[in-house]
Symmetry: C2
């Protein structure tokens, strides 16, 4: 990991449900804790009406697995509260994940039953990671899935992430990262910028204008301090008067104006005409009031240069969790033989067995199916693209997935993989997954 | 703060939007940064159809303000990325909040325009806190607001928080805390348990049963390791067979069974009858499958002993953010005179001026109105309850609001304050705020 991402957390180990540790205790007691096991992360469905999902969080969770260690602070808590017994505490004190993790590259699309992440190790070591892995994948993927639709709707116009204030502070940092993976060009979130080298953006709020004795004084102060290419917020009082004031102060050099209220399509048109009439043809217009993918699509014909997205980004445009689950799909018996397993609970059926994914592509490179094969890699017809990558092999983190490098790589991967999807994906209307999932067994 | 809550974060200062710092730079340039200012957190509305909101996160944000310092790591990032100039970096290096914070006690109800939190200080020091304060309050309050409706619907039956895997890992910790403030009796989240002394709970998942060669082996291992009072998960294969196996193993001592799928009302009835017929009248039934306040209310007549709530808790039952904003409402001029300020943006009008809140109660102690007074404390008719408390006075944190003590206090406060609300609050149907907000001016 680069210097830009120092470990902020001494341990991720207690981002874990109590029952993971009590299960471990009982499995250590029965001896079954040492059986080799395969757990799989998948989603039974996409959010209602969505055509595809986007995997995000992989780099974060790989960073976090390295910090998943039980130190003095964690062990003292578990001991004093008697969550687990001495045998289990001793196991935890030595815990370090030595298994393997493979799955879909960060930024990749996923569909119902895609084998998004597969964790192989002893039951003990793989079971412990459940809660943490799901927390990361479920939130980050939900945000990337929504963000990808926003950047699709925005076309060539930049989308900027500004939602920090609307969600828990650390979740906001993760959301910024997921947004950039899904095509956002920058974020207002400074911690996300620091941790993963993301571009940060921002100029001023209404309070800055209100602080000064007049809008003109406020604008003048901002222009002097930040330069003429800055973005002035023009809707604190009267938009037309504000635009005229701004142009009077700095002329054609004014970088941009921001609109944060009212009917954005109408206002953008009026402001564009006004700017043009004043000779400010190069002054840009950015809009920022409660946008989502539908509002962005609705502004396609308006003279808008960029979109700032807040609330709807960090809450996944109404779907802040991706419904991914982590299920035991195979384990060894005492005789060393592998057994595929799946629960039979009503309405929550799983598919047993170790799985690999492949995107079936036609001769034009357009995706036609999500192929999931149980027990081995699906056959590649030549044009197809294998989806399952190695992240950790026998405890060793593979290069390139984490840190700023991982984010850059994931963003590029996302853009390329999304370009393979059929045109129907451009539609903002509700529908079925844009390609079907085909499960193959040996 | 108690030993149970060591600072996990070296700094909260970069949980901040880029524009807070550029505004600061421009205000330092104009000189206005040093004007005394009053910012207020309020919500223009409750989530659609909700009858009341619950303030949460206050203790967390007071803990976080103490850690809001710009250290070497933060300053190096801001310098290398040129977010702000040298003058501003020097200001940040010495930054420590020396102003005052007052507002609604954690666990208190809020309504449209309640003055939830008021921050007074120089523009520079108060402006910087905006993003962080809103992140904490918006998420924690959204969760507590949903959780309170769940515990209201559950009546005397305990609600248990189990949503960690459905939301970003640190957000999950905050959600556990907010749930307990709103009446939940425990959480599966170990980190939340460690940080604030919350009761943690949990036993086993389906994977534990699947790991073993038979359900009976799994149950036997759990019972031996955790004791007969444990909770067995009985829906991995066939519920009836599982209950019979469990009772065969341990008889009437079996603590509880958990149902996690299917029609919970029907299954709970069948399992209750089966347990009773086998002589297990004291064995409890807990249910855990995708519950929200409506599902809990719908199970009121079913023989259920406790509710485990996951997804819908951590996403605020569809509303994961509380729409709170942080607005400059008053500031001094260069002559030292205070000026009330408010922006006039279309559809986002604010009310200028420093405010205090009071809950008007009738002679039976039932709330009849939310009184918000501009410029001073509202008059108390004798039965009324003042709502505005001091949290930080001239930079000094007041006792009792943070750490485990703060959570215990907030939970007690919530229960008492909720009991004052009119009976209409019991309704799960959509409606207007259960009491009106009355804004008084001098």
């Amino acid at each position: 990991m680069s210097e830009a991402t120092p470990a902020r957390r001494p341990s991720t180990a207690l981002f874990t449900d109590h029952y993971e540790l009590t299960m471990l205790q009982a499995a250590l007691h029965s001896g079954a804790a040492h059986r080799r096991s395969v757990f799989e992360v998948f989603a039974r469905r996409l959010p209602t009406g969505r055509r595809y999902g986007v995997v995000a969080g992989t780099g974060r969770l790989l960073e976090g697995i390295a910090d998943f260690r039980f130190g003095q602070e964690q062990l003292a808590f578990l001991e004093s509260t008697r969550v687990v017994n001495r045998q289990t505490l001793d196991f935890l004190a030595d815990y370090r994940f030595t298994g393997s993790v493979r799955g879909y590259a960060e930024g990749e699309m996923y569909f119902p039953n895609s084998p998004i992440l597969t964790v192989e190790g002893t039951f003990a070591e793989a079971c412990l990671l459940e809660t943490y892995l799901l927390s990361v994948l479920n939130y980050d993927s939900a945000i990337a899935s929504a963000a990808s639709r926003m950047t699709l709707a925005a076309g060539d116009r930049p989308c900027l992430e500004m939602g920090a204030r609307r969600i828990q502070e650390d979740a906001a940092v993760a959301a910024s990262r997921a947004a950039v993976i899904a095509g956002f060009t920058g974020t207002s979130n400074l911690e996300a910028g620091r941790r993963w080298g993301l571009t940060t953006i921002g100029t001023a709020a209404h309070s800055f204008t209100l602080l000064h004795d007049s809008e003109e004084e406020a604008f003048a102060a901002q222009l002097e301090s930040m330069g003429h290419d800055t973005t002035l917020l023009v809707d604190t009082y009267d938009v037309e008067a504000a635009v005229r004031t701004a142009v009077r102060l700095v002329g054609a050099e004014l970088g941009a104006v921001r609109l944060d209220s009212g009917d954005l399509a109408v206002q953008a048109r009026e402001v564009r005409d006004l700017l043009d009439s004043l000779g400010n043809r190069d002054t840009r217009i950015t809009v920022t009031s409660d946008l989502d993918e539908f509002a962005i699509a609705g502004l396609a014909a308006a003279p808008v240069d960029s979109y700032g997205v807040g609330t709807q980004l960090v809450i996944g445009s109404g779907v802040p969790t991706a419904s991914m689950v982590y299920k035991l799909v195979a384990r060894q018996g005492d005789d060393g033989r592998w057994v595929n397993v799946a629960k039979a609970s009503k309405d929550k059926v799983s598919i047993g067995g170790d799985k690999w994914g492949l995107r079936r592509l036609d001769e034009d490179g357009v995706a036609t199916a999500e192929v999931v094969r149980i027990g081995g890699r699906p056959e590649n017809d030549g044009d197809d693209r294998p989806l399952t990558c190695d992240f950790i092999v026998d405890g060793e983190l593979q290069d390139g997935w984490t840190g700023p490098e991982g984010v850059t790589r994931a963003a590029a991967h996302h853009a390329a993989a999304r370009a393979e999807l059929p045109r129907a994906v451009q539609s903002m209307s509700r529908g079925e997954p844009v390609i079907p999932t085909v499960v193959e067994t040996d």
